[in-house]
Symmetry: C2
Subunit: 873 residues, 2 copies
C-alpha cells in the first residue's frame, strides 16, 4: 500500500491493522494528490464528507471535539510521499488551536505555558509552511520578548509571555498577508492539506523529481492524526527505541525515554533521557529509573508492541512512542539503521529465530559495510581533533609520522608508522605507499592513482583533503592556520575521509561468526566467481584468506618499480635500438619469472590473469633531478640524455597515449620477455612442485582484432619455444581487456582469436565519458550536486553508457565464441550495484581488491536474488 | 572478367577482343589457382592439353615453334591477381631459351649479344623466382666477368662474354640446387606457372592478405604470351604513351619511344627517347625524329589504337607497345595517372565529346586533388634541395624566414614572409601561425593542433619533420649536419611534406573552367549540404567564395586569443569568485558580440553553428615567464599567484578534463555571456541591416541529457531576456556535439531537448579508440605498417567503431525527434571516404575547412552516385 499511502501512512495503517495503539486519523491517498494537480487544485467529489466523517470518528475515539473551546481535538498533518523530497511541506502539529480552543487546552492540561507554547508553535509552523510568512520574522519577535525579559532559553518563558508572543505572531501574520490567522479549525485543516498537495508542484520539488527521475504522477499522501502529548504530567512520557541493539545487534530492547516531555526533548540533549530497560540501566550504571521499573505496565505493553512489530516486519524496527495520561501511543515505526556488525548479527539471529529466510538475511546486509569490518578502525571512544576532510578513498584508519616523499616514507617506516602525504601520487611513489600505513593526497578522487593503489594494498587513503597546502621542499604542510612538519603525527580515517591531528587510537577488527556465516550463505547462492586484483605475494595471500577464487588482474608493471628493477626498466626504455632493449629485458627476465613463480604457487591451480605491461613508458622514467643523477651514475648515461629522453616521451594525454598493447606492437620484445617469464615460471612450478597452474595472459588496450592477433602470435611463439613439444605444453589462455569503446563494438571480431575478455571498466568509463579520472575531481561534485550523475561513474558502473558497451561486447563476443570467459577487473568489480549489473549481463566473474572480496561475494549473491525477483515480478 | 582473369589478363583479353594486335597467348584463370591450392598443387584435368593447344595456336600465329632450335618461340609468364601483392611472383621473360634455342635466336636476330644477354636474363630471373637461387650469387658472377674484362657497364659486354656468363650461371644453378637448369622448354613453362600459383601461398603473401582482408580464395591468374622484341633492328621500336596529355589533360597523343630498344630502355634514361608526335617535337624544340615522321604508318596504326581504346574504356589510357620488325604489338593498357588539372579537363572534355556521362565525369576526379588547385604550389620547374620530410598536414607551398616563436613570427611577418617552426604548436601560438605563411613542426600528426589550425587558416603545414632538432633558446635548428638560424630561408610543401633549403619558387593557382563545371555538376547531384568550419571574417568570406552553404563549426575560443582579449579571458579564469568572473566576462561581451555581428552579416541568412567555449581553461593561461610577467603587470596579480593558478589548473589528461560543457556546468556565467553576445548580435543584425540570421548554438562535450537540458535552460533564459516578447523572438536552435561514446549511446534521450547533432568525429575518434591525436604520431606509423590501420583514423573515419557510434546516434536521435538535423564537423568532414559514409547514414550536411569545401561538394556528389550503385548492385 506504500504507493497509495506513502511510506509513513502505510506504516501507520499497518500498525493500526495489527491492533497497535496508533492515534486515530486518516491518510488521504496519493490519488487525491494527482486529482488535485490535474483539476485546478480541487478535490475529488465526496472527499470533504469522508474527511468530516473520519474527524467525527476521531472525536468519538478521543472524546475531544475538533474546534471545541472546552475540550478541543488537536491534529497533526504530515506529508508522506514514497520518498522524501526537498521543497515538500513536511509537518504541521497542534492544528485545531485558535484563540478560543487554546483556553480549553490550558484548562484541560492545567498548564498555561504548555497551551500557549503549543499555540505559538502552531502559528509559527502553519504561518510559515502553509501561509508563507518568513520564519525569521517569527524569530525576531521571540528574540525581542526574551530580550525584554532578560531571558536566554525558551524554557524560561512563562505562560503569560508565550501568550504575548502569540498576540505578536498573530499581528505579524495579519500585517504580512493582509488577512488574519485563520481561527476556523476546518479552514486550518483544509489549508494544511492543500499546502501539502500544493508543495508537490513547487519548482524545487519538480526540479528534484526531474533530476532524480521520479514520475510526477506518483504524488504524495497526507496523514491527518489526532495529536497526543507526552508532556501533560507525570503520567505522560515520550521515547524512541530500537527493537534490537543497533550498535552490536544483540536481541535486547534498546531505547530512551523521558517522563513529561515531548518527542524532540529526547534528542535535544537538554535533559538526560532515562534508559528503557533495567538491563541497560545496570550495564550503564545509571541512577535514572528505567521505564521497566517506573512504568512497568506501559513497558510491558511497549515490549509486546516490539515483538508484534518484529514478527510483522521481520526486521529490526526504530520506533517512536508517546504516553499520554498513562496511555501508550505509537507514532512511527520504520526499519532501524544499524552498524555493519549489528546488521550481520541481526540477520543471522533472525534467520535462526525463523523470522526470515537465508535469502532475506543476505539481503539485509549492505555488502559495502563488510569492508569496514576488515580494516583497523578509529576507536569510537577516542577524542579526535579533525583538521580536514577529504574523499574517503580506501577504508581503514591509520596514524603515523607525516612524510612528504616516498623515499622519506620508506626510510622512516623502519622506525615508526608513517602517513605519506602527497599532492597526488604516481607509480614512482609505490615503494613509499607500500611502506606507509596510510596515504593522504590533496588532489584526485576515489579512483585516482593513490586511491586505486591504496585499496589494492589495503592501505587507508584520503584524497583531495580540503584546505591542506603542501610545501614539499620545505617539508611541511599548512592547514587551518597550523603548520604540520615532517615527522609530526596525524591520523586519517579512510572510511570517513577525516584527517585528525596527533595519534588517535585505532582498534583492530575481529571477524565475527556472523560474518563467516553470512558469507557462507552467500557462497551457496551466488553464480559468479569472485577473484582479486593482486600482484604481490602479500596481496595474493590476503586475497585467498578472504576467499578469492583466482586473480582477476595482476598488473605486471607494479612489479617493475622495485628499486633493483627500475634501473633495468629505465635502461630498456632509454635503449637506442632493439638490441639494447633486449639486453635490459634480459636482466628483468629472472626477476619477473620469480614474481610469477610465487604467484602461481600461492594461487595453487586457481586462475591467474596476468596483464602485460600497460602504462606509458615515461611513467617509469626518473622525475626528480636526484633520481636522474642516481640513474645517470648507475648507467653512465648523461643526465642531459636522460632529460632529453624524458622530454621526447612526454605526452599530452598519457591516458590515450603510447601504452598498453601499443607498446607491444612497437616493441614486441617486451611482450616476449613477459611471456617467457610466464611460461618459464609455469615450467618451474608444474615441474618442481607439481602444482597445477591456470594462467590467462591478458593483452591490454586492444582496439582491433588484427592488433590482438599479431600479439597473440608473439605469445604463442614463446610458448612453443619454452615448450617445444605440443603434447606436454600446458594449457593457457590468451585474452584481452575490453577497456575502449572500439574494442566493445568490435568484440565479435576480437573474439575470433581472444579466449577471454576482462572488462577494464575504469578505462572504459574514462573513454566512454571522455573523462579523466585524475582530473574529474574538479567538476564531478558539481555534477552530483546538480543531479546529472547520481553516483560517481568511477565508483558505480554507468549502466546507460558504459553498461551498454559491456553488454554489446558480451553479446557479440559470445556470438562468435560460445565459451568465451567474461569478467570484470575495474574498480567496479567491488561495487555492489555494479556487481548486480554484471550478474544481469551474465559475466562469469568479478575481480576486486582483496579487501573487497567478501563484499563482492555477498553482492554477487544479492545480485542472483535480485535477478530472481525481477524474473518473478 | 577481372575476377577470373586478373587485372592484366582482363585488359589483354579486351584488347584482343577489340581486334588490337596483342601478342598471342592465354590466361590461366584464378579458378585454377584455387584448384592448385586445394588439391595438393595439382592442376585440373585437361589443363595441360588446353595449354598445349594454345601454345600450338601461338606457334601458328607467330610462325615460331616452342623449343625449336632453329626458330624458337619465346614466352613471357606473368602473374595477374586482382590486386598486386608483395611476395608474389611477378614476371619471367624469354622463357623457352635453352642451350640450343639460344643459337636459333642468335641466328634469327643476327645478334649474338642480344641472344646471350636474353638467355642470361632468363636464367637469372627463372633461377631466382622459380628455382630460388639468390640473386646476389648471379650478380657476383656478373661482377667478376666485368672485373676480368675491365668493364663497368653491362652494355659494354660482348656476345662472347655473355656466353661465358651463361655458362657460369648454369654451373651456379647446378651447384646450388644439385640439378641442372631445365633445358626442356615445357618443364620451364610449367615450372613458371607452378611458381606463380605457389607464390600465392607463401607466408608473406598470406600475411599480407590476412592484414588487408583479401580473401585467400581470390587466387591469381597466370598470363602466358609470346615474347615480342623491339630490339631486333631498326625496324623495331618500343614505347609508352598516354592517349591524352596527363599533365594538363589536352586531347593530344602524348608519349615517347625508342628505335631498336627494349621497354626498360625508355624509362632507364640511358638514351633520350624520341617524341611520339610532330606537335610534341615542335613544342619541345626537339632534334630527334618523332614517330609520326619516322614510322608514319605504324604511328597511324597506334593512333587508331589510341582512339579505339578511349572509345572502349571511356577513359584516358596509359599504353605500352613494341614494334617488332615493323609490326605493332600492344603489351599493356590501363587507366592513365594524371594531375588534378588534367583529371578535370579530361572529365569535362569527355563528357562534351559524349564519351561519358556527367555522373561518370564526376567519378573520374579525385576530390582530394581539388585542394591542390586552391593553394600556391612549388613551381614544378624550380630546383629543390630537400633537407627533411614530414607529414603533409595542410596543403600549399610556402617559403619564408624561419622563426622559432609565435611572437617573433608575428613581429617579423611585417617585413617578409615567415615560416613558424615549433616542436608543436599550442593555442598560444595562434597569432604567430596566422602571421606566418607556413608552419613546420617536429612533432604531431595530420590532426595535431598545428595541422588542424593550419588547415582552417589555409596555411601550409608540415608536421613531424624528420631529423630536425630545434633549439628554441639558441634560435636555431639542426638538420642533416647543418644549422639553420632564425631568419634563414626555407620552403615547405604541405602537399608532399617536403622541407627545402632556401626560397623555392611557388606559383599561384588559377581555377579553371573545368573546375567550375565539375563542381556545378556535383551540386546538381549531391544531397548533403556542405558547410565550412570558420570563425574569422576572412575564413567566412573564403568559405562563401568556395561555395559553403553555412558555417558548421565556429569555435568561439579561437576568438579569445586576440592580444586585447586574452587579458580579460585570463582575468576571468583567475577570478576568485563568480562576481569576479562576471566582471571579466562583461569586458569580453562587446568584443564577442562584434565577432558574431560580422559573421552573421557575411553569412547573410545561411546557418551558423556556434560552439560554446570548449577547451580547458588552462589553455588560455600564460605559459612563459615573460607572458606571466606581462599579465601580472597588466592586472596587478602577482606572478606567484599566476603560477599557483597555473599549477592548480594543470591536468593529467586535458583532453578528458574540465572542458566543454563541463566548464558551463561549473561556471554557467561563461555560457550566459556567450549566449548574450549571440542574441544581442542577432538583434543588431536583424534590426539594423534587416538581414536574416540562422543561428544554431552548440553545446560541446555533452554526455547526458540532464547536462544538456540544464545548459539549454541557461541559453533559453538569456534569449528571453534579450527578446522579452516571445512573438518577436527570432528562431534559433540549441543542439550538441556528439563527440563522446556515451553521447552517441544516449542520443535518444539527448534528442528529447537537443534540436540538432553535429558529430565531432575528432574527439569521438580519440575516445572510441582511446587514442590521443597529439600523441599518436609515435605509433600510428607502426600500426599502418603492420596493416592494423589501413588509414590514419584521424584522417579517414573508422567506420567499424566510430562509424557504428555515429549511426547508432543518428538512428536513436531521429527515433526521438524526426526532424533532428545531423551534420559532421570533425576533420573527417573534408575526407571523401568519410563523406561517403556520411551519405550512407543520411546526415544532412558535412562541414570542413574552407579550402576543402570544393572537395566536399564533389565527394558528396560521388557519395550519392556510389549509394545509387550499391542499391542498383
Amino acid at each position: 500500500m506504500r504507493n497509495l499511502l506513502g511510506g509513513k501512512g502505510a506504516n501507520l495503517a499497518e500498525m493500526s491493522n495489527l491492533g497497535l495503539p496508533v492515534p486515530p486519523g486518516l491518510t488521504i491517498t496519493t490519488e487525491v494528490c494527482a486529482h488535485y494537480a490535474e483539476n485546478d487544485e480541487t478535490y475529488p467529489k465526496g472527499l470533504k464528507e469522508e474527511v468530516d466523517a473520519v474527524v467525527e470518528k476521531v472525536e468519538k475515539i478521543t472524546g475531544c471535539i475538533f474546534g471545541d473551546p472546552e475540550n478541543p481535538l488537536l491534529l497533526s498533518v504530515r506529508s508522506g510521499a514514497r520518498v522524501s523530497m526537498p521543497g515538500m511541506m513536511d509537518t504541521v502539529l497542534n492544528l485545531g488551536l485558535n484563540d478560543k480552543t487554546v483556553k480549553g487546552l490550558e484548562k484541560r492540561s492545567g498548564d498555561a505555558r504548555f497551551a500557549y507554547d503549543s499555540y505559538r508553535r502552531f502559528i509559527q509552523m502553519y504561518g510559515n509552511v502553509v501561509m508563507g510568512v518568513e520564519l525569521e520574522h517569527f524569530e525576531e519577535i521571540l528574540d525581542q520578548h526574551k530580550k525584554n525579559h532578560g531571558m536566554e532559553q525558551d524554557t524560561e518563558l512563562t505562560g503569560k509571555i508565550w501568550q504575548d508572543v502569540v498576540k505578536d505572531y498573530e499581528s505579524l501574520v495579519e500585517k504580512d498577508l493582509g488577512r488574519p490567522f485563520p481561527q476556523d479549525v476546518r479552514d486550518q485543516l483544509w489549508g494544511a492539506i492543500g499546502a501539502v498537495f500544493g508543495s508537490w508542484m513547487v519548482p524545487r520539488a519538480v526540479e528534484y523529481r526531474r533530476i532524480h527521475d521520479i514520475p510526477g504522477d506518483w504524488g504524495t499522501a497526507v496523514n491527518v492524526q489526532a495529536m497526543v502529548f507526552g508532556n501533560m504530567g507525570d503520567d505522560c512520557a515520550t521515547g524512541v527505541a530500537f527493537t534490537r541493539n543497533p550498535s552490536h545487534g544483540a536481541k535486547e530492547f534498546y531505547g530512551e525515554f523521558l517522563i513529561n516531555a515531548q518527542g524532540e526533548d529526547v534528542v535535544a540533549g537538554i535533559r538526560t533521557p532515562n534508559p528503557l530497560t533495567n538491563h541497560a540501566k545496570n550495564s550503564n550504571d545509571s541512577d535514572l529509573p528505567s521505564m521497566e521499573e517506573s512504568m512497568p505496565d506501559i513497558f510491558a505493553q511497549l515490549n509486546e508492541v516490539r515483538n508484534r512489530l518484529e514478527t510483522h516486519y521481520h526486521d529490526m524496527q526504530d520506533i517512536e512512542f508517546t504516553v499520554q495520561k498513562h496511555k501508550l501511543w505509537m507514532l512511527q515505526t520504520r526499519s532501524g539503521k544499524r552498524t555493519a556488525a549489528a546488521a550481520l548479527k541481526i540477520a543471522v539471529d533472525m534467520e535462526e529465530e525463523g523470522l526470515i529466510t537465508k535469502s532475506e538475511a543476505l539481503q539485509r546486509v549492505d555488502p559495502i559495510s563488510l569492508e569496514q569490518l576488515l580494516h583497523p578502525m578509529i576507536d569510537p571512544k577516542a577524542e579526535r581533533n579533525v583538521i580536514s576532510k577529504g574523499i574517503p578513498a580506501s577504508p581503514g584508519a591509520a596514524h603515523g609520522a607525516v612524510m612528504f616523499t616516498a623515499d622519506a616514507a620508506e626510510k622512516h617506516a623502519a622506525k615508526e608508522p608513517v602517513i605519506l602525504v602527497r599532492v597526488e601520487t604516481s607509480p614512482d611513489d609505490i615503494h613509499g605507499m607500500n611502506a606507509a600505513q596510510g596515504i593522504l593526497t590533496t588532489r584526485g578522487g576515489a579512483t585516482s592513482h593513490a586511491a586505486v593503489v591504496a585499496r589494492g594494498m589495503g592501505r587507508a587513503c584520503v584524497c583531495s583533503a580540503q584546505g591542506i597546502v603542501i610545501d614539499t621542499n620545505a617539508g611541511s604542510m599548512r592547514v587551518q592556520g597550523m603548520t604540520i612538519k615532517k615527522g609530526d603525527k596525524i591520523t586519517i580515517d579512510g572510511g570517513t575521509g577525516e584527517v585528525m591531528l596527533g595519534e588517535v587510537a585505532t582498534i583492530e577488527p575481529k571477524l565475527s561468526n556472523d560474518f563467516t556465516k553470512i558469507i557462507e550463505w552467500a557462497d551457496e547462492i551466488r553464480r559468479m566467481k569472485v577473484r582479486a586484483n593482486a600482484e604481490t605475494p602479500t596481496d595474493a595471500k590476503m586475497a585467498r584468506r578472504y576467499g578469492a577464487e583466482g586473480i582477476g588482474l595482476c598488473r605486471t608493471e607494479h612489479m617493475f618499480f622495485d628499486k633493483e628493477r627500475i634501473i633495468a626498466v629505465r635502461e630498456m626504455i632509454m635503449a637506442e635500438d632493439e638490441e639494447g632493449r633486449r639486453k635490459a629485458l634480459f636482466k628483468l627476465l629472472p626477476m619477473q619469472r620469480q614474481d610469477f613463480i610465487e604467484l602461481f604457487e600461492i594461487m595453487d591451480g586457481l586462475p591467474v590473469t596476468i596483464r602485460l605491461l600497460d602504462p606509458p613508458l615515461h611513467e617509469f622514467l626518473p622525475h626528480s633531478d636526484e633520481d636522474i643523477s642516481v640513474f645517470s651514475k648507475a648507467t653512465g648515461i648523461t643526465p642531459e640524455a636522460v632529460a632529453q629522453h624524458i622530454e621526447r616521451l612526454k605526452e599530452s594525454n598519457p591516458m590515450l597515449g603510447h601504452r598498453g598493447c601499443r607498446l607491444a606492437i612497437t616493441y614486441p620484445e617486451i611482450s616476449e620477455m613477459q611471456a617467457r617469464a610466464i611460461f618459464e615460471a609455469i615450467k618451474k612450478v608444474t615441474g618442481v612442485s607439481g602444482k597445477a597452474v591456470d594462467p590467462e595472459i591478458m593483452i591490454p588496450l586492444v582496439v582491433d582484432e588484427k592488433e590482438f592477433a599479431i600479439l597473440k602470435d608473439v605469445i604463442d611463439s614463446v610458448a612453443e619455444e619454452v615448450f617445444p613439444d605440443a603434447a606436454t605444453r600446458p594449457p593457457y589462455k590468451v585474452g584481452t581487456m575490453i577497456e575502449l569503446p572500439r574494442a566493445a563494438l568490435c568484440a565479435g571480431q576480437i573474439a575470433e582469436t581472444a579466449e577471454f575478455f576482462s572488462f577494464g571498466t575504469n578505462d572504459l568509463t574514462q573513454t566512454t565519458f571522455g573523462l579523466s579520472r585524475d582530473d574529474s575531481g574538479n567538476f564531478i561534485p558539481a555534477y552530483q550536486r546538480q543531479g546529472i550523475f547520481e553516483r560517481d561513474p568511477f565508483v558505480s558502473l554507468d549502466t546507460d553508457g558504459v553498461g551498454e558497451l559491456v553488454s554489446i561486447a558480451a553479446e557479440r563476443g559470445r556470438a562468435t565464441r560460445k565459451d568465451l570467459k567474461l569478467g570484470i577487473c575495474g574498480e567496479h568489480g567491488g561495487d555492489p550495484a555494479s556487481i548486480s549489473f554484471c550478474e544481469k549481463v551474465d559475466l562469469d566473474y568479478v575481480s576486486c581488491s582483496p579487501f573487497r572480496v567478501p563484499t563482492a561475494r555477498l553482492a554477487a549473491a544479492q545480485a542472483v536474488l535480485k535477478k530472481k525477483d525481477r524474473k518473478a515480478g
